[in-house]
């Protein structure tokens, strides 16, 4: 009978089979023991890994949904939404509120349920409900991811001093020295500046920025979700209302928002009190600034 080339596959000897089995068992046990030694660091690394991935997911959600009001770097927008990347927020906010849970829980709670209204609030925008449980767009794990991302600012926020902390104090300002620079510091509201304020500051402090995007054009591809985008307003403003040039159109839109509403947008959203909040001079400078095609971004 001819002997095939693969005859090495035929293990005939019982002794060899026994030896192979014993070696295999020893190798398998050794490998499992090695895995056992590796288990503790492996689990630690995996825990850190999935926390990190949570923060990554939270960062993406924050960039797409939260950064327009709370700022891309979490430093808030005066009058629109409070700073999160703030030493005050990490050290004192919970005590001022009397909240007994962790800061991450507080953020998750606020993100999930939002704020019921913004009456008597110094913030122009109301925090919406974000959790699907309360009618928002996000699942529970996404809300947690955002909270983890926000809390991850801690290391940076704790290095802030009173000058660099972007926190916008509430009316019932805290009176605790959290900056360690001596003395009890009352966080007073930012003093009202005298004289005309510059238009780039007005655009933020008057909360225009919350709804209008200055860097995107309003066209077929791009459409501001709440208010129209403004990058190409200097081209389109003059065409909007017959008989009104660009200057007049924008001026009227600020002073009397109800006068014209761009089609497909909800009327009555834009605040109607800008004429009282700004001087005529300031409004004019804001109009010029918005319509300046060479405005630096």
């Amino acid at each position: 009978m001819k002997r095939p080339w693969y005859r090495f596959l035929y293990v005939r000897s019982s002794l060899v089979k026994l030896l192979l089995s014993i070696i295999a068992i020893m190798v398998a046990v050794a490998v499992v023991l090695f895995q056992g030694i590796a288990e503790e660091p492996r689990m630690l690394a995996q825990t850190a890994n999935w926390d990190g991935r949570s923060i990554q997911n939270g960062a993406a959600i924050y960039a797409n949904n939260c950064s327009s009001c709370h700022g891309p770097d979490g430093r808030g927008l005066p009058g629109v939404a409070p700073a999160l990347n703030s030493r005050y927020f990490f050290t004192q906010r919970l005590a001022d509120l009397g909240f007994t849970g962790s800061l991450e829980d507080y953020v998750a709670l606020t993100v999930a349920a939002g704020r019921p209204n913004n009456r008597n609030s110094q913030w122009a925008q109301m925090m919406p409900t974000w959790s699907a449980e309360y009618g928002g767009p996000f699942r529970g794990d996404q809300v947690r991811d955002v909270a983890k991302f926000v809390v991850n600012w801690e290391e940076e926020a704790l290095t802030q001093t009173q000058e660099t902390d972007p926190w916008q104090p509430f009316e019932n300002a805290p009176t605790v020295d959290i900056y360690g620079d001596g003395g009890v510091v009352a966080m007073e509201p930012t003093p009202v500046a005298t004289g005309p304020r510059p238009p780039q500051e007005l655009f933020v402090s008057m909360t225009c920025v919350a709804c209008h995007n200055l860097n995107l054009p309003q066209d077929a591809q791009n459409r501001g979700p709440v208010g129209p985008n403004m990058a190409n307003l200097h081209e389109t403003a003059a065409t909007r209302v017959p008989g009104e040039d660009a200057q007049t159109y924008v001026h009227n839109s600020i002073v009397n928002p109800g006068a014209y509403t761009v089609e497909s947008y909800t009327p009555g959203i834009m605040p109607a009190d800008f004429a009282q909040k700004m001087s005529e001079e300031e409004i004019q400078s804001l109009v010029d600034w918005i319509l300046d095609p060479n405005r630096p971004q």
Binding site: S14, K17, A24, A28, G36, P41, R42, G52, D141, E156
Partner: protein, 539 residues
């Protein structure tokens, strides 16, 4: 029983030893310690053969034949593939049961349970990797078992029904593997199963297809109901069905005997059960030792593979709102995915697999050639090989390399930093991504060698797409890496190009990468760098 008279007759020592041997013989269902010794020494059994007793006494052995034909015990005759499939089913049951302890089949918990299993359960990852590896091996081994049976013509009379149950077992194995696919509730699972069940929708007439699809998913889209259904299929219904068909299959195998190598009997004869006394190999001890040794070595190899070379994937949590760029079926369904790319859903997903199944079952009746010898079955062997090659080509077409290229800008970024999985950028990791703005037009270089490879690849990939895609001109890319938070970097990709009409186009995609996040490939040497003590490197 009175002990005293025995002790009086024999010595105390003798009595104890006899009692011990009695217990031993009961446990082994009829093999005394002396017989074990004679087995190990390779001595022939006495007459009557005491080594046959366990086959009639013990439940687990009564289904095993007492002896085999010497020719079929050669490893290369069957490669023991049937035994291996059975063993893998056993491995899957054990590892699956352990995984069930840590798993609840609801969308709220399934994915977090996976993370908990990986990060909080000792040996949890090993169990998951073993289960997944076992599942893939089981599909492979069952398929190879079928190929072997086909090539040796063992499906021919009288074994047609054995072949039929084998085909059913193959289908059940595929369904088992596929139903387990959904359970981790990640993007990979969700979309593979969405596509899989949507094929059921194509069953004509529409009312049947829609009903089947609805029954499988439990709702128009896969959700809590669908997950529960797939879970129950996976852990209860399909294993029980497989269990039943396994016993039918195995009974027929024992009943007819394993077919002999074809040149050892006349054409048209079947002498598998007429084993001459001098060609018999008894199960005890020879075949048992052989099978046990094989399974032990195989188990050791599986353990080594899942500790060092195989990691079950886990993508991000299932998101019904976001379809991944390239949905990939498991490799054993690549052929189906390939078919879906070239044919309509009803043809590729229902008719062709249906015809294939009927053909497989019908093989013993279509092939009327009585001979099992290779030289008499040229047509059968060639058509089998052609079918195999077609399957391989279709499988290749099922991979993303074939005909699913998206827009060039999208593909450039997908190559370097895919939506899911590792990709080169995540492979070099957080520490090797220096902050800065890198514009491919200025051929940027950085201090970091590994990062330079990424920059070169970015440039080369854009140039390659520019050369082959006429709608992608004067393209360049800007990669911006910025520190978003302590321990979190933002990797921002911008690609600019001119359309054929000369219009500026741009594509932006950004990802975040955390210092502690790590990614892994399913196949390849595992990274054990976490075992190094922390040295404070990586700034």
């Amino acid at each position: 029983m009175a002990v005293q008279p025995e002790v009086n007759k024999k010595s105390v020592m003798r009595t104890v030893l006899d009692a011990a041997d009695d217990v031993f013989t009961r446990i082994t269902a009829g093999i005394s310690a002396g017989e074990v010794r004679r087995m190990i020494r390779g001595e022939a059994p006495g007459r009557p053969n005491p080594r046959l007793k366990p086959h009639s006494e013990a439940f687990l052995l009564h289904i095993k034949p007492t002896y085999y034909h010497e020719s079929v015990t050669k490893f290369t005759h069957t490669f023991r593939l049937g035994l291996l499939s059975t063993y893998l089913f056993f491995v899957e049951t054990i590892t699956g049961l352990i995984l069930m302890i840590w798993y609840a089949p609801t969308p709220e918990r399934a994915y977090t349970d996976m993370i908990r299993l990986l990060s909080n359960v000792p040996f949890g990852q090993l169990m998951r990797d073993l289960h997944r590896l076992g599942a893939e091996l089981m599909v492979a081994v069952v398929t190879l078992h079928m190929v072997r049976t086909y090539l040796t013509g063992s499906y021919k009379a009288p074994r047609q029904f054995t072949w039929f149950t084998g085909v059913i077992l193959l289908v059940l194995t595929l369904f088992l593997s596929f139903s387990g696919y959904l359970l981790p509730w990640d993007q990979l699972a969700y979309w593979a199963v969405t596509i899989g069940t949507s094929m059921a929708e194509a069953i004509p007439p529409p009312i049947v297809g829609e009903t089947v699809n609805l029954l499988a998913r439990g709702a128009p889209d896969i959700g809590a109901n669908g997950l529960m259904r797939f879970y129950l299929l996976h852990v209860l219904f399909l294993p029980l069905a497989l269990f039943l068909f396994f016993f039918v299959h195995y009974y027929k195998v024992v009943h007819f005997g394993i077919s002999l190598p074809s040149d050892e009997e006349e054409v048209g004869q079947d002498t598998a059960n007429k084993v001459p006394a001098d060609r018999r190999v008894y199960f005890l001890p020879d075949v048992m030792l052989d099978e046990a040794a094989l399974l032990i070595v195989f188990t050791a190899l599986m353990v080594i593979a899942s500790v060092f070379f195989f990691a079950a994937p886990l993508e991000s949590i299932a998101n019904p709102q976001s379809t991944p760029l390239h949905t990939v079926a498991p490799w054993y369904f690549y052929w189906l995915q390939g078919l879906l790319k070239i044919a309509d859903k009803a043809i590729a997903g229902v008719y062709l697999p249906g015809i294939l199944l009927v053909l497989l079952i019908g093989i013993p009746y279509l092939d009327r050639n009585p001979s099992r010898r290779g030289r008499d079955r040229r047509v059968a062997i060639i058509s089998g090989v052609v079918a195999g090659i077609v399957m391989i080509i279709l499988s290749w077409m099922g991979t993303p390399y074939y005909a699913v290229q998206g827009a060039p800008a999208v593909e450039v970024i997908q190559e370097l930093m895919p939506e899911e999985g590792m990709g080169p950028v995540r492979e070099i990791g957080y520490a090797h991504l220096p902050l800065g703005v890198y514009d491919t037009r200025t051929h940027p270089e950085s201090e970091d060698e590994e990062f330079n490879h990424i920059l070169h690849e970015f440039e080369a990939s854009i140039a390659a797409f520019e050369a082959k895609d006429p709608s992608f001109n004067d393209a360049y890319g800007i990669l911006t890496i910025s520190q978003e938070q302590p321990s979190l970097k933002r990797i921002n990709w911008d690609i600019y190009w001119l359309s054929p009409e000369g219009v500026d186009e741009t594509y932006n995609r950004f990802f975040f990468l955390h210092e502690d996040a790590f990614y892994w490939e399913q196949y390849g040497i595992k990274d054990f760098s976490f075992m190094r003590p922390a040295t404070g490197e990586g700034e």
